[in-house]
Amino acid sequence: MDEDSSYVAKVQLGNTEAFGVLYDRYLDKIYRFIYYKTFSKEVAEDLTSDVFHKALTKIGSFDSEKGNFSAWLYRIARNSVIDHYRTKKSDVSLDDTFDVGVDERTPEALDAIAGLGQVTEYLQTLTAKQREIIMLRVWEEKSYREIAEIVGGTEDAVKMTYSRSIRDLREKCGNVSLGAIFLACNLIETLRFHDFS
Protein backbone atom coordinates (compact mmCIF):
# COMPACT_ATOMS: atom_id res chain seq x y z
CA MET A 1 0.00 0.00 0.00
CA ASP A 2 1.58 3.34 -1.00
CA GLU A 3 1.57 6.47 1.16
CA ASP A 4 -1.51 7.92 -0.51
CA SER A 5 -3.46 4.73 0.17
CA SER A 6 -2.95 4.96 3.91
CA TYR A 7 -4.29 8.52 3.95
CA VAL A 8 -7.18 7.54 1.68
CA ALA A 9 -8.08 4.79 4.13
CA LYS A 10 -8.12 7.29 6.98
CA VAL A 11 -10.34 9.68 5.04
CA GLN A 12 -12.71 6.83 4.29
CA LEU A 13 -13.02 6.31 8.02
CA GLY A 14 -14.06 9.94 8.42
CA ASN A 15 -10.73 11.65 9.05
CA THR A 16 -10.75 14.86 6.99
CA GLU A 17 -7.38 15.96 8.40
CA ALA A 18 -5.91 13.08 6.42
CA PHE A 19 -7.49 14.55 3.32
CA GLY A 20 -5.65 17.76 4.16
CA VAL A 21 -2.38 15.85 3.70
CA LEU A 22 -3.49 14.65 0.28
CA TYR A 23 -4.61 18.18 -0.55
CA ASP A 24 -1.18 19.57 0.34
CA ARG A 25 0.46 16.91 -1.79
CA TYR A 26 -1.63 17.43 -4.92
CA LEU A 27 -2.97 20.96 -4.90
CA ASP A 28 -0.11 22.49 -6.89
CA LYS A 29 -0.08 19.65 -9.40
CA ILE A 30 -3.81 19.69 -10.04
CA TYR A 31 -3.84 23.48 -10.28
CA ARG A 32 -1.00 23.40 -12.82
CA PHE A 33 -2.65 20.60 -14.80
CA ILE A 34 -5.85 22.61 -15.09
CA TYR A 35 -3.94 25.80 -15.84
CA TYR A 36 -2.08 24.10 -18.70
CA LYS A 37 -5.47 23.32 -20.21
CA THR A 38 -7.14 26.65 -19.65
CA PHE A 39 -4.40 29.26 -19.24
CA SER A 40 -6.68 31.14 -16.90
CA LYS A 41 -5.85 31.53 -13.21
CA GLU A 42 -9.45 32.26 -12.27
CA VAL A 43 -10.80 29.20 -14.08
CA ALA A 44 -7.96 27.11 -12.66
CA GLU A 45 -8.92 28.19 -9.12
CA ASP A 46 -12.62 27.43 -9.67
CA LEU A 47 -12.01 24.05 -11.20
CA THR A 48 -9.33 23.10 -8.68
CA SER A 49 -11.80 23.84 -5.91
CA ASP A 50 -14.41 21.68 -7.70
CA VAL A 51 -11.92 18.84 -8.07
CA PHE A 52 -11.05 18.62 -4.40
CA HIS A 53 -14.66 18.95 -3.29
CA LYS A 54 -15.64 16.17 -5.68
CA ALA A 55 -12.73 14.02 -4.58
CA LEU A 56 -13.74 14.39 -0.94
CA THR A 57 -17.36 13.59 -1.76
CA LYS A 58 -16.50 10.54 -3.85
CA ILE A 59 -13.56 9.18 -1.92
CA GLY A 60 -15.75 6.48 -0.46
CA SER A 61 -16.00 4.93 -3.91
CA PHE A 62 -12.25 4.87 -4.50
CA ASP A 63 -10.54 1.53 -4.05
CA SER A 64 -6.78 1.85 -3.51
CA GLU A 65 -6.24 -1.75 -4.55
CA LYS A 66 -7.76 -1.18 -7.96
CA GLY A 67 -6.25 2.16 -8.91
CA ASN A 68 -3.82 4.90 -8.13
CA PHE A 69 -5.12 7.88 -6.14
CA SER A 70 -3.05 10.38 -8.12
CA ALA A 71 -4.42 9.13 -11.46
CA TRP A 72 -7.95 9.15 -10.01
CA LEU A 73 -7.58 12.75 -8.94
CA TYR A 74 -6.18 13.78 -12.31
CA ARG A 75 -9.11 12.09 -14.01
CA ILE A 76 -11.53 14.10 -11.91
CA ALA A 77 -9.60 17.21 -12.90
CA ARG A 78 -9.68 16.23 -16.57
CA ASN A 79 -13.40 15.61 -16.46
CA SER A 80 -13.96 18.92 -14.71
CA VAL A 81 -12.17 20.73 -17.52
CA ILE A 82 -14.26 18.84 -20.09
CA ASP A 83 -17.43 19.73 -18.19
CA HIS A 84 -16.31 23.34 -18.00
CA TYR A 85 -15.79 23.55 -21.76
CA ARG A 86 -19.12 21.83 -22.41
CA THR A 87 -21.03 24.43 -20.46
CA LYS A 88 -19.05 27.34 -21.84
CA LYS A 89 -20.74 29.28 -24.62
CA SER A 90 -19.16 28.81 -28.01
CA ASP A 91 -19.40 32.44 -29.05
CA VAL A 92 -17.07 33.79 -26.39
CA SER A 93 -14.55 36.33 -27.65
CA LEU A 94 -10.84 35.70 -27.57
CA ASP A 95 -10.35 38.26 -24.80
CA ASP A 96 -13.08 36.68 -22.69
CA THR A 97 -11.22 33.40 -22.60
CA PHE A 98 -8.75 35.09 -20.32
CA ASP A 99 -10.61 35.99 -17.17
CA VAL A 100 -7.66 37.93 -15.89
CA GLY A 101 -6.44 41.47 -16.34
CA VAL A 102 -3.74 42.35 -18.83
CA ASP A 103 -1.15 42.61 -16.07
CA GLU A 104 -1.72 39.00 -15.09
CA ARG A 105 -1.35 37.61 -18.57
CA THR A 106 1.70 35.49 -18.95
CA PRO A 107 4.21 36.23 -21.69
CA GLU A 108 3.11 32.99 -23.31
CA ALA A 109 -0.50 34.18 -23.36
CA LEU A 110 0.39 37.50 -24.91
CA ASP A 111 2.56 35.83 -27.52
CA ALA A 112 -0.20 33.40 -28.36
CA ILE A 113 -2.83 36.08 -28.78
CA ALA A 114 -0.54 38.04 -31.05
CA GLY A 115 0.64 35.03 -32.98
CA LEU A 116 -2.59 33.05 -33.13
CA GLY A 117 -2.90 33.49 -36.83
CA GLN A 118 0.65 32.31 -37.40
CA VAL A 119 0.22 29.05 -35.56
CA THR A 120 -3.18 28.18 -37.03
CA GLU A 121 -1.50 26.07 -39.65
CA TYR A 122 0.06 23.94 -36.95
CA LEU A 123 -3.21 23.24 -35.15
CA GLN A 124 -3.74 20.02 -37.01
CA THR A 125 -0.34 18.82 -35.91
CA LEU A 126 -1.35 17.95 -32.40
CA THR A 127 -4.60 16.62 -31.07
CA ALA A 128 -5.75 17.48 -27.56
CA LYS A 129 -4.72 14.04 -26.43
CA GLN A 130 -1.25 14.37 -27.91
CA ARG A 131 -0.74 17.69 -26.16
CA GLU A 132 -2.05 16.25 -22.94
CA ILE A 133 0.30 13.27 -23.06
CA ILE A 134 3.29 15.50 -23.81
CA MET A 135 2.39 17.85 -20.97
CA LEU A 136 1.94 15.00 -18.49
CA ARG A 137 5.18 13.31 -19.53
CA VAL A 138 7.51 16.25 -20.03
CA TRP A 139 6.07 18.89 -17.70
CA GLU A 140 4.58 16.72 -14.98
CA GLU A 141 7.02 13.79 -15.31
CA LYS A 142 4.23 11.23 -14.97
CA SER A 143 4.90 7.59 -15.74
CA TYR A 144 3.35 6.09 -18.87
CA ARG A 145 1.23 3.86 -16.70
CA GLU A 146 -0.22 6.78 -14.80
CA ILE A 147 -0.76 8.77 -17.99
CA ALA A 148 -2.69 5.81 -19.41
CA GLU A 149 -4.86 5.77 -16.28
CA ILE A 150 -5.51 9.49 -16.59
CA VAL A 151 -6.25 9.80 -20.30
CA GLY A 152 -7.50 6.29 -20.91
CA GLY A 153 -6.05 3.58 -23.10
CA THR A 154 -3.09 1.28 -22.69
CA GLU A 155 0.42 2.10 -21.61
CA ASP A 156 1.73 1.02 -25.03
CA ALA A 157 -0.72 3.32 -26.80
CA VAL A 158 0.44 6.23 -24.66
CA LYS A 159 4.10 5.50 -25.46
CA MET A 160 3.36 5.32 -29.16
CA THR A 161 1.34 8.54 -29.12
CA TYR A 162 4.08 10.30 -27.19
CA SER A 163 6.93 9.33 -29.49
CA ARG A 164 4.87 10.05 -32.61
CA SER A 165 3.86 13.44 -31.26
CA ILE A 166 7.48 14.44 -30.74
CA ARG A 167 8.26 13.29 -34.27
CA ASP A 168 5.30 15.30 -35.63
CA LEU A 169 6.50 18.38 -33.81
CA ARG A 170 9.95 17.92 -35.26
CA GLU A 171 8.66 17.53 -38.80
CA LYS A 172 6.02 20.20 -38.86
CA CYS A 173 6.71 22.94 -36.37
CA GLY A 174 10.33 23.79 -36.81
CA ASN A 175 11.24 26.77 -34.66
CA VAL A 176 7.73 27.95 -33.80
CA SER A 177 7.22 28.47 -30.12
CA LEU A 178 5.73 25.29 -28.72
CA GLY A 179 4.18 27.15 -25.84
CA ALA A 180 2.37 29.32 -28.36
CA ILE A 181 1.13 26.22 -30.19
CA PHE A 182 -0.17 24.64 -27.02
CA LEU A 183 -1.85 27.83 -25.90
CA ALA A 184 -3.33 28.51 -29.31
CA CYS A 185 -4.75 25.00 -29.47
CA ASN A 186 -6.31 25.43 -26.04
CA LEU A 187 -7.82 28.76 -27.09
CA ILE A 188 -9.36 27.24 -30.18
CA GLU A 189 -10.85 24.47 -28.06
CA THR A 190 -12.32 27.02 -25.69
CA LEU A 191 -13.94 28.82 -28.57
CA ARG A 192 -15.12 25.88 -30.60
CA PHE A 193 -14.85 22.79 -28.37
CA HIS A 194 -12.79 21.47 -31.20
CA ASP A 195 -11.38 18.19 -30.05
CA PHE A 196 -11.42 16.57 -26.69
CA SER A 197 -10.59 13.00 -27.60
Binding site: Q12, S49, R75, G152, I166, L178, S197
Partner: protein, 273 residues
Protein backbone atom coordinates in the same frame (compact mmCIF):
# COMPACT_ATOMS: atom_id res chain seq x y z
CA UNK B 1 22.99 18.56 -20.90
CA UNK B 2 21.04 18.38 -17.67
CA UNK B 3 20.01 15.04 -16.23
CA UNK B 4 16.29 15.57 -16.71
CA UNK B 5 16.67 16.41 -20.41
CA UNK B 6 19.00 13.47 -20.82
CA UNK B 7 16.54 11.03 -19.26
CA UNK B 8 13.68 12.29 -21.46
CA UNK B 9 15.80 11.86 -24.58
CA UNK B 10 16.99 8.38 -23.59
CA UNK B 11 13.41 7.39 -22.93
CA UNK B 12 12.34 8.69 -26.36
CA UNK B 13 15.12 6.84 -28.14
CA UNK B 14 14.08 3.64 -26.37
CA UNK B 15 10.52 4.11 -27.64
CA UNK B 16 11.57 5.05 -31.17
CA UNK B 17 15.21 4.35 -31.98
CA UNK B 18 14.89 6.16 -35.33
CA UNK B 19 14.63 9.44 -33.41
CA UNK B 20 18.28 8.99 -32.45
CA UNK B 21 19.17 9.81 -36.04
CA UNK B 22 17.71 13.29 -35.51
CA UNK B 23 19.21 13.78 -32.09
CA UNK B 24 19.98 17.45 -32.47
CA UNK B 25 16.49 18.38 -33.60
CA UNK B 26 14.77 16.17 -31.03
CA UNK B 27 16.96 17.57 -28.29
CA UNK B 28 15.98 21.06 -29.48
CA UNK B 29 12.28 20.18 -29.34
CA UNK B 30 12.46 18.75 -25.85
CA UNK B 31 14.65 21.62 -24.61
CA UNK B 32 12.07 24.07 -25.95
CA UNK B 33 9.24 22.13 -24.29
CA UNK B 34 11.03 22.22 -20.95
CA UNK B 35 11.91 25.87 -21.30
CA UNK B 36 8.37 26.88 -22.20
CA UNK B 37 6.73 25.13 -19.30
CA UNK B 38 4.63 27.85 -17.67
CA UNK B 39 5.79 28.55 -14.16
CA UNK B 40 2.50 28.96 -12.43
CA UNK B 41 1.93 29.03 -8.71
CA UNK B 42 -1.53 29.14 -7.17
CA UNK B 43 -2.35 32.13 -5.06
CA UNK B 44 -1.44 31.48 -1.42
CA UNK B 45 -4.67 32.88 -0.02
CA UNK B 46 -6.70 30.70 -2.40
CA UNK B 47 -4.73 27.64 -1.29
CA UNK B 48 -5.26 28.40 2.40
CA UNK B 49 -8.94 29.25 2.00
CA UNK B 50 -9.71 26.10 0.03
CA UNK B 51 -7.79 23.95 2.49
CA UNK B 52 -9.73 25.34 5.42
CA UNK B 53 -12.99 24.74 3.56
CA UNK B 54 -12.08 21.17 2.62
CA UNK B 55 -10.80 20.12 6.03
CA UNK B 56 -13.81 21.56 7.80
CA UNK B 57 -16.16 19.51 5.62
CA UNK B 58 -17.45 16.54 7.53
CA UNK B 59 -17.01 13.14 5.95
CA UNK B 60 -19.18 10.23 6.91
CA UNK B 61 -17.22 7.02 7.33
CA UNK B 62 -17.71 4.84 4.31
CA UNK B 63 -16.02 1.78 5.68
CA UNK B 64 -17.67 -0.61 8.10
CA UNK B 65 -17.13 0.63 11.60
CA UNK B 66 -18.36 -1.80 14.25
CA UNK B 67 -21.10 -0.24 16.28
CA UNK B 68 -20.87 -0.77 20.02
CA UNK B 69 -24.54 -1.52 20.39
CA UNK B 70 -24.14 -4.81 18.50
CA UNK B 71 -22.10 -6.16 21.38
CA UNK B 72 -24.99 -5.62 23.81
CA UNK B 73 -27.86 -6.57 21.56
CA UNK B 74 -26.31 -9.79 20.23
CA UNK B 75 -26.13 -11.60 23.60
CA UNK B 76 -29.69 -10.51 24.38
CA UNK B 77 -30.81 -11.95 21.09
CA UNK B 78 -29.04 -15.22 21.73
CA UNK B 79 -30.67 -15.42 25.16
CA UNK B 80 -34.08 -14.87 23.63
CA UNK B 81 -33.51 -17.71 21.18
CA UNK B 82 -32.42 -20.05 23.95
CA UNK B 83 -35.53 -19.09 25.87
CA UNK B 84 -37.69 -20.10 22.94
CA UNK B 85 -35.93 -23.43 22.67
CA UNK B 86 -35.79 -24.34 26.36
CA UNK B 87 -39.23 -23.15 27.46
CA UNK B 88 -41.57 -24.73 24.87
CA UNK B 89 -44.75 -24.20 26.90
CA UNK B 90 -44.58 -20.52 26.09
CA UNK B 91 -44.95 -21.47 22.49
CA UNK B 92 -47.19 -24.57 22.44
CA UNK B 93 -49.38 -24.69 25.59
CA UNK B 94 -52.99 -23.72 24.90
CA UNK B 95 -53.41 -22.50 28.49
CA UNK B 96 -50.69 -19.99 28.12
CA UNK B 97 -51.13 -17.05 25.83
CA UNK B 98 -49.17 -17.77 22.71
CA UNK B 99 -46.87 -14.90 23.12
CA UNK B 100 -43.76 -15.40 21.14
CA UNK B 101 -41.00 -13.18 22.47
CA UNK B 102 -40.06 -10.76 19.77
CA UNK B 103 -36.42 -11.08 18.94
CA UNK B 104 -34.61 -7.76 18.76
CA UNK B 105 -33.78 -6.55 15.28
CA UNK B 106 -30.17 -7.60 15.69
CA UNK B 107 -31.16 -11.28 15.55
CA UNK B 108 -32.84 -11.00 12.19
CA UNK B 109 -31.02 -12.99 9.61
CA UNK B 110 -28.64 -10.80 7.67
CA UNK B 111 -28.67 -11.61 3.97
CA UNK B 112 -25.51 -13.29 2.80
CA UNK B 113 -25.02 -10.69 0.17
CA UNK B 114 -25.62 -7.24 1.58
CA UNK B 115 -26.32 -4.86 -1.28
CA UNK B 116 -23.77 -2.13 -1.45
CA UNK B 117 -24.54 1.34 -2.64
CA UNK B 118 -23.61 1.68 -6.28
CA UNK B 119 -20.90 4.21 -5.54
CA UNK B 120 -19.05 1.71 -3.33
CA UNK B 121 -18.58 -0.78 -6.12
CA UNK B 122 -15.17 -0.70 -7.73
CA UNK B 123 -14.31 -2.55 -10.91
CA UNK B 124 -12.32 -5.77 -10.70
CA UNK B 125 -9.30 -6.05 -12.97
CA UNK B 126 -10.70 -8.85 -15.13
CA UNK B 127 -13.93 -6.99 -15.66
CA UNK B 128 -12.26 -3.79 -16.73
CA UNK B 129 -12.37 -3.58 -20.51
CA UNK B 130 -9.53 -1.62 -22.04
CA UNK B 131 -10.75 0.03 -25.18
CA UNK B 132 -8.04 1.27 -27.58
CA UNK B 133 -8.34 5.01 -27.88
CA UNK B 134 -8.52 6.56 -31.33
CA UNK B 135 -8.10 10.21 -32.03
CA UNK B 136 -11.45 11.87 -32.29
CA UNK B 137 -13.19 9.31 -30.12
CA UNK B 138 -13.82 10.41 -26.59
CA UNK B 139 -13.48 8.08 -23.67
CA UNK B 140 -16.75 6.66 -22.61
CA UNK B 141 -17.87 4.94 -19.53
CA UNK B 142 -20.91 3.04 -18.58
CA UNK B 143 -22.09 1.26 -15.56
CA UNK B 144 -24.93 -0.99 -16.42
CA UNK B 145 -27.48 -3.40 -15.17
CA UNK B 146 -26.53 -7.00 -15.99
CA UNK B 147 -28.82 -7.28 -18.99
CA UNK B 148 -27.36 -4.20 -20.68
CA UNK B 149 -23.70 -4.51 -19.76
CA UNK B 150 -23.36 -7.93 -21.44
CA UNK B 151 -24.58 -6.40 -24.72
CA UNK B 152 -22.46 -3.33 -24.12
CA UNK B 153 -19.26 -5.39 -23.86
CA UNK B 154 -19.76 -6.51 -27.45
CA UNK B 155 -20.11 -2.98 -28.68
CA UNK B 156 -16.71 -1.47 -29.39
CA UNK B 157 -18.02 2.03 -28.80
CA UNK B 158 -18.64 1.31 -25.14
CA UNK B 159 -16.38 0.69 -22.23
CA UNK B 160 -18.23 -1.82 -20.14
CA UNK B 161 -17.84 -1.33 -16.45
CA UNK B 162 -18.50 -4.10 -14.02
CA UNK B 163 -21.85 -4.57 -12.41
CA UNK B 164 -21.95 -5.03 -8.71
CA UNK B 165 -24.84 -6.31 -6.72
CA UNK B 166 -26.79 -3.15 -7.60
CA UNK B 167 -27.12 -1.47 -11.01
CA UNK B 168 -25.10 1.72 -11.43
CA UNK B 169 -25.78 4.89 -13.38
CA UNK B 170 -25.80 3.87 -17.01
CA UNK B 171 -26.75 4.92 -20.50
CA UNK B 172 -27.02 2.66 -23.51
CA UNK B 173 -27.73 3.48 -27.12
CA UNK B 174 -27.02 0.72 -29.61
CA UNK B 175 -27.31 2.65 -32.83
CA UNK B 176 -28.67 5.84 -34.28
CA UNK B 177 -30.10 6.74 -37.63
CA UNK B 178 -30.58 10.28 -38.91
CA UNK B 179 -33.67 11.84 -37.46
CA UNK B 180 -35.23 14.26 -35.06
CA UNK B 181 -34.82 12.12 -31.96
CA UNK B 182 -32.44 9.86 -30.07
CA UNK B 183 -33.81 6.69 -28.57
CA UNK B 184 -31.91 5.63 -25.46
CA UNK B 185 -32.60 1.94 -25.04
CA UNK B 186 -31.56 1.70 -21.44
CA UNK B 187 -30.89 4.27 -18.79
CA UNK B 188 -30.53 3.81 -15.08
CA UNK B 189 -29.76 6.44 -12.50
CA UNK B 190 -29.47 6.50 -8.74
CA UNK B 191 -30.54 10.16 -8.61
CA UNK B 192 -33.12 12.24 -10.51
CA UNK B 193 -31.47 12.86 -13.82
CA UNK B 194 -31.71 14.21 -17.34
CA UNK B 195 -30.22 12.98 -20.57
CA UNK B 196 -28.59 15.70 -22.65
CA UNK B 197 -27.68 15.13 -26.27
CA UNK B 198 -24.76 17.12 -27.61
CA UNK B 199 -23.29 17.59 -31.02
CA UNK B 200 -19.97 19.19 -30.22
CA UNK B 201 -20.94 21.94 -27.78
CA UNK B 202 -24.43 22.30 -29.24
CA UNK B 203 -27.20 20.97 -27.03
CA UNK B 204 -29.58 19.23 -29.40
CA UNK B 205 -32.06 17.99 -26.89
CA UNK B 206 -32.86 17.22 -23.28
CA UNK B 207 -34.95 14.29 -22.10
CA UNK B 208 -37.91 14.23 -19.81
CA UNK B 209 -36.82 13.74 -16.17
CA UNK B 210 -35.42 10.27 -15.53
CA UNK B 211 -36.67 8.82 -12.27
CA UNK B 212 -34.04 7.13 -10.09
CA UNK B 213 -33.96 3.44 -9.33
CA UNK B 214 -35.77 2.23 -12.44
CA UNK B 215 -34.17 0.77 -15.54
CA UNK B 216 -36.02 2.50 -18.32
CA UNK B 217 -35.74 3.85 -21.82
CA UNK B 218 -36.08 7.36 -23.06
CA UNK B 219 -36.53 9.23 -26.30
CA UNK B 220 -34.91 12.63 -26.58
CA UNK B 221 -36.52 14.95 -29.10
CA UNK B 222 -33.94 17.04 -30.94
CA UNK B 223 -34.06 20.64 -32.08
CA UNK B 224 -32.91 19.72 -35.55
CA UNK B 225 -32.38 16.77 -37.86
CA UNK B 226 -29.15 14.84 -37.41
CA UNK B 227 -27.17 13.68 -40.38
CA UNK B 228 -25.21 10.57 -41.21
CA UNK B 229 -21.67 10.69 -39.88
CA UNK B 230 -22.52 13.17 -37.16
CA UNK B 231 -21.16 12.33 -33.73
CA UNK B 232 -23.52 12.74 -30.82
CA UNK B 233 -22.69 12.53 -27.14
CA UNK B 234 -25.48 11.45 -24.81
CA UNK B 235 -24.62 12.53 -21.28
CA UNK B 236 -26.41 11.70 -18.04
CA UNK B 237 -26.73 14.70 -15.73
CA UNK B 238 -28.00 14.77 -12.19
CA UNK B 239 -30.97 17.14 -11.91
CA UNK B 240 -29.51 18.82 -8.83
CA UNK B 241 -32.23 21.39 -8.34
CA UNK B 242 -34.94 18.87 -9.16
CA UNK B 243 -36.78 21.17 -11.52
CA UNK B 244 -36.74 18.82 -14.50
CA UNK B 245 -34.93 21.43 -16.56
CA UNK B 246 -31.30 21.15 -17.66
CA UNK B 247 -29.36 24.00 -16.05
CA UNK B 248 -25.65 24.02 -17.01
CA UNK B 249 -23.46 24.78 -14.03
CA UNK B 250 -26.14 23.59 -11.59
CA UNK B 251 -26.87 20.14 -12.97
CA UNK B 252 -23.68 18.09 -13.00
CA UNK B 253 -22.64 15.09 -15.06
CA UNK B 254 -23.13 11.85 -13.19
CA UNK B 255 -20.00 9.77 -12.93
CA UNK B 256 -19.05 6.17 -12.27
CA UNK B 257 -17.06 5.06 -9.21
CA UNK B 258 -13.84 5.82 -11.08
CA UNK B 259 -14.90 9.41 -11.79
CA UNK B 260 -15.72 8.93 -15.47
CA UNK B 261 -18.80 10.72 -16.82
CA UNK B 262 -21.76 8.51 -17.63
CA UNK B 263 -22.16 9.11 -21.32
CA UNK B 264 -22.19 7.45 -24.66
CA UNK B 265 -20.88 8.63 -27.99
CA UNK B 266 -22.70 7.43 -31.06
CA UNK B 267 -22.08 8.17 -34.70
CA UNK B 268 -25.27 8.64 -36.66
CA UNK B 269 -25.44 6.18 -39.52
CA UNK B 270 -28.03 5.61 -42.22
CA UNK B 271 -26.78 2.10 -42.93
CA UNK B 272 -29.43 -0.53 -42.37
CA UNK B 273 -28.78 -3.08 -39.56
Amino acid sequence: MNEHLKSILEDLYRLDPTLKGEEEAISGIVTTLLREKPEVVPDASFVARLRAEIVSTSVHPTRAVPSPWYFYAAPAGVFALLLLMLVPQFVTSPTVPAVVPQAPDSTRVVPESVPQPAYMIAPTEEEFVDIPMNDGVQMKSMGGAPETSSRAAEDLSLMALPVGDEPMNSVYVSSLQPGMSVHVEAVFTVAPALLVVYSGTEVLGVSEPILPGILTESTVVLSRMTHSGEELVIVLYEDRDGDGIFTPGVDHMLTDPMGNPIQQIVVVSDRPF
